[in-house]
Every structure is written in C-alpha cells, then in structure tokens.
C-alpha cells in the first residue's frame, strides 16, 4: 500500500518535472525561433515556416499538449545548436557522466563511511576533530575552484581535459588505463566536495545507535567492543546513509556540471554548460527533464532499497 503511494508520488513528481520544463524553457524565454535563427541568414517566410513546424503558431495549451504527446513518444524536440534530436544529443553523453559520477559517489561513500565510523567510535579524539574539520572545510569549497586549483597544482601529472587521448593504443587495457588516468582529477575534485555529507551522517547516525540500549546489552553480554561495533551498531547506522546516497544524488549532479566544465569531461554536465552559453533552450529543457526525472526515479529506488534492507520498515 505504501509502495503504491510512493510510486504514485513519483509519478506526480515526474509530471511536475515535465510541466516545469515546459514553463521554464518554453513560456518564459519567449520566441525560440529568434534564438534559433541568430547568426543565420533568414527571411520572415523561413521564420514563419519554422514557427509552423514547431507548432509555435498554436495557442499555448495546445502547444503544451503537443509537447506532452511528443515527450511520451520520446521526442524532446530539436537542439538549436546541433540541429539534431535532443534525445540523441543527450544519450551520447550519458556514459561519461555515469562513469564519473558513479566512481566518485562510490569512493566518496566508502571514504565517508570509513571516516564517519572511525570518528563516531572515537568521539572527540584528535582523529575525529581533524577529520570533521577537514570534511567541513572541503564541504564549504566551491567545486570549480577546487578543480582549477588542482589543475594548476598538479602540473604535468594528469591530462588537462577529457576522458581519453586521441592516440591511445586500441587495446582494452591501455584504453582503460588512459580513461582512469583522465578520471583522476575530476573524480578527486568531486569526491573531495561530496564525501563530507556521508561522513557527517554516518557519524551522527552511529552516535545515535551507540546510545541505543541493545548495545549496552550486547556489551553486558561480554562481547568485544569492535565486534559490537561491526556486528550491531554499524549495520543499523548504515541504513540512513544508504538512502542519503540516493537522496543527495542531485547534489552530485550539480557538482558534475562544474567539474565536467573545468575538465572538459564529455558528459551531461558539460553539455548542460554548453547549452547555457547559447542558450539552447530545447536542449536545456531536455537535460532538465532527464536529470530531474532520473533523480526522482533514483529516490523511488532508494525507498524500495530501504524497505528491502530494513526489516522494521518492511513490517510497518
């Protein structure tokens, strides 16, 4: 029953994303034909033809219905810049972003969990203070600035752009090493900025668990401290963090925009930035609908995961 409610909520959210996309990029900016024809020699007849082709001569509600219908068929319109279907342009950039965001999130989560657990266990120790301080400082750092500094500071160590060189040998291993080599700076940038949240939540979540009475019982039973920690406290404290990973995916996506821009990483974030400089409203609309939609879906997924992992919620 509650799952159905969650799914229903997600559907509502998704449709709100769609409405917002239409409103933001079709209603506010005005005539897309003017944007599209900039810098190209056009006649009023050509503009009128374009307007008819894009259905802009129809009343707004009708335009909205058309937009909806097209969206359901997977048609997000044509990019002003690339003169190609928006969905095609977006889909070829998904891979690199998944690689960057996936790797970074994974490492950030592992790092955050480890530091959080250690910090909570030795609360107020020097380690706890220092690691909390470092985490908060990095958390306060603008992503792009950190990226620029890293690029300046590392000199020759890492490539300055992109995901691969154009002349790396075609074999799998050399390609993988090349990509990994390119991945280091962008992922370090992204990890540094996002890991703090996982550390903080893990730390406080574990602290709450440590107050719980069952731990006292476990200790009273004579279990060793590290066993208590590993077997009982950590798994329970882990749950909120896991859902947080998905809840905060939006933040990582935002970080990816600036990181990819600084390092010319050929993913969705870079595409987003390029679409901004136009601005290419059709592409921006597609990107917003796709990223926001993905985050909504991820949240439902997180919710389901939570249910699977935590028997207490399942029973409720």
């Amino acid at each position: 029953m509650r799952i159905a409610g969650k799914l229903g909520g997600a559907v509502v959210s998704l449709s709100m994303v769609v409405v917002l996309g239409f409103f933001l990029f079709r209603v506010i900016p005005g005539d897309p034909v003017v944007s599209w024809t900039r810098g190209r020699p056009t006649t009023p007849e050509m503009q009128a033809a374009l307007r008819a082709e894009w259905g802009l001569d129809k009343p707004l509600p009708q335009q909205f219905l058309d937009y909806l219908g097209k969206l359901l068929r997977g048609d997000m319109g044509t990019s002003f810049t690339y003169s190609r279907p928006v969905l095609d342009v977006i889909s070829e950039r998904v891979g690199p972003t998944l690689l960057l965001v996936g790797t970074s999130t994974l490492i950030a989560v592992l790092l955050g969990l480890w530091l959080g657990i250690r910090g909570a266990w030795r609360r107020d120790s020097r380690f706890d203070r220092v690691s909390t301080g470092v985490a908060l400082t990095l958390w306060s750092t603008p992503t792009f600035w950190l990226g620029m500094l890293l690029m300046m500071a590392t000199g020759d160590l890492f490539p300055s752009r992109g995901m691969r060189d154009t002349d790396t040998a075609p074999g799998f291993f050399s390609q993988a090493v090349d990509v990994a080599h390119h991945l280091v700076l962008p992922s370090v940038t992204l990890i540094a900025v996002v890991y703090a949240q996982y550390q903080m939540v893990m730390r406080s979540s574990l602290l709450e668990e440590l107050h719980a009475s069952y731990l006292t019982t476990a200790r009273a039973k004579g279990l060793r401290d590290d066993l208590v920690r590993r077997r009982h406290a950590v798994p329970n404290a882990l749950l909120p963090v896991l859902t947080l990973v998905f809840l905060h995916l939006g933040l990582v996506v935002a970080g990816a925009i600036t990181t990819e821009t600084v390092f010319t990483w050929p993913g969705l974030g870079l595409l987003f930035y390029e679409a901004l400089t136009g601005p290419d409203y059709a592409l921006l609309q597609g990107l917003m609908v796709v990223t926001a939609g993905a985050v909504v879906v991820m949240n439902v997924f997180a919710d389901l995961l939570y249910r699977v992992l935590d028997p207490r919620v399942r029973a409720a």
Partner: protein
C-alpha cells in the same frame, strides 16, 4: 504576559550559554562578525579610484609583494582590496537569498502543518518535489531564462532552496500544535493567526535560525557557482565574479595563484563560519547531539 517573556528570555539565555560552550560555534561567530565588519567598513575605507579600472596605474598581473599585498589582477587593481570589497556583495546575496528562502520555507511549513488536510498534503507534495530536484540545476535553469542581475541570482537561489526548511518547520509545527497549551489556546477561541503567531512561530524560531545559517552557507557557494558559469552579474564585485574574471582572463595559465586563491579562501571561510554556527545551534536545540 511578561511571565511568558521572562520564560523565553531565560530560555534564550540558556541557549546562548549552551552555544558559548562550543568552541567551534563561537569561532564561527567571531569569523562572521569579522566578515560583516569588513563588508561594512571596506567600501568606506577604499579610495574612490582604487578599484576603478580606468584610473589604476599599477601593471596587470603583478605577483604579491611588489607594493601590493596580494598582487594585482588583469587590470592592475589590488587583489587584496578586491577581495575585501567583494565581501559585501557575497554576504548580501547569501543573506538575502537565505532570508527569502527561509521565509518561503517557514510560510509553507507552518501553513502545511497548521492547516493539514488535503491543502497540507498538497503543499508537502510540492515541497517533496522541490526537495528531490537538484536545487543548483534548477537555480541554473532559472537564472538562464531570467534577465541577468543580482536580483535574479537571489531569486533563483531562494526559490530552489526552501524545501528543507519547509519540511523541518512543518514537523515542528505539528509537534507544537499537539502540545496541551496550544489546544488550550484553541479552546479559548484563539484563531489561526493567534495560534500560529503566538505559539507556533516562537517555537519554530530556533529551528528557523539554524536553517537560515545553513542556507546562507549554501547560497554563498551557489552564488559563486552561478557566477563561474557566467550567469552572474559581472558589473558587481563579489567573490564569485572575481573567480569568473580569473577564469575568463586565464589566471590558471598565468599561474596567478594570488588572483585565484584569495576569493576562494574567502568563500570557504565565510561558508565554514556559517556552517559551524549552524551546527552549534543545532546542538543547542537538539541536546541529543550533545551526548
């Protein structure tokens, strides 16, 4: 009535003592005080022509030491003066955006909690939606379709960062309204305005305060990010616009670390200060964190 005020005053005083017991929070507060002082005083202390590109005579890209504490930028202006003068706009944008954001969040949270029913459910649905959507992505989208300017940036940040406040405030509103004294007030004929204004708002105020400090931290980083992406107002001097200039003029190639480091460190310092104060306040309000 004065009894109530006395009680509140003692509560706030106790809160302050709990806050003062946390060194990091106090350090953050001191840093903030310093930043505000700089923001207010610097425009008065800086000579009229010191930051006027058409009037400065120093060579561009001077490294630190040669007459300028932190060197000069691409136009020959002193980086130290720029950073100090940039404090005002960065703080202003952060505070205004956070204030607006928290105001929206509080209004929606209290309304949703107080009225409940389908109206409250609808408000929470909207809140959840905005909570899920990546705030910065939405802020970028908003500032790309609205006309450039400081107002747009403030609006874009505020309109996308209110949901967490709304959630927290709603939960607190529900908790407060379940207490006997509110029920009594209601039984005695207190209207919606009376209940929310006299009972709910004062009770959620500490929470709102915490959220404001944390939102300011977010807003300052968001401002710099928007400026970096070229969506800011380049005619106004802020830390974000300085970094934007640094990037545009090739500070990384020039290895002009003196132009790149100070604005970023300024952002970190102020954001960190707000975060520390926010966390300390959180501990005051939620003693469980104190342990």
């Amino acid at each position: 009535m004065s009894v109530v005020w006395d009680r509140r005053r003692t509560a706030w005083a106790a809160g302050w003592r709990a806050f003062a017991a946390q060194r990091s929070g106090v350090a953050g507060l001191a840093l903030l005080g310093l930043a505000v002082l700089v923001a207010v005083l610097m425009p008065l202390l800086t000579g009229a022509d010191a930051l006027n590109v058409a009037r400065v005579v120093a060579p561009a890209w001077e490294p630190p030491g040669s007459g300028h504490l932190l060197g000069t930028d691409h136009t020959g202006r002193s980086v130290a003066l720029l950073v100090l003068n940039g404090t005002a706009v960065s703080l202003l944008v952060g505070l205004t955006a956070a204030g607006l954001s928290v105001a929206i969040g509080t209004l929606i949270g209290v309304t949703a909690g107080h009225f409940g029913g389908w109206w409250g459910a609808l408000l929470m649905r909207v809140t959840d939606f905005f909570l899920v959507i990546p705030a910065l992505v939405l802020a970028i989208a908003l500032s790309s379709v609205l006309p450039r300017g400081m107002g747009t940036i403030i609006l874009a940040i505020a309109l996308t960062s209110w949901p967490s406040t709304a959630r927290v405030v709603r939960a607190q509103t529900l908790a407060v309204e379940a207490r006997p004294f509110v029920e009594r007030a209601r039984a005695l004929g207190g209207g919606h305005l009376h209940v929310t204004g006299k009972h709910v708002l004062p009770a959620v105020l500490p929470l709102v305060l915490v959220n404001t400090t944390l939102t300011v931290a977010y807003a300052i980083v968001a401002e710099s990010t928007l400026a970096f992406l070229g969506l800011g107002d380049p005619t106004r001097l802020s830390w974000g616009s300085m970094l934007h200039q640094a990037q545009l003029q090739g500070a990384v190639s020039k290895e002009a670390w003196w132009f790149l480091l100070p604005p970023g460190l300024g952002i970190i310092a102020v954001v960190l200060a707000f975060t520390l104060v926010g966390r300390a306040l959180e501990t005051v309000i939620n003693p469980r964190l104190r342990g």
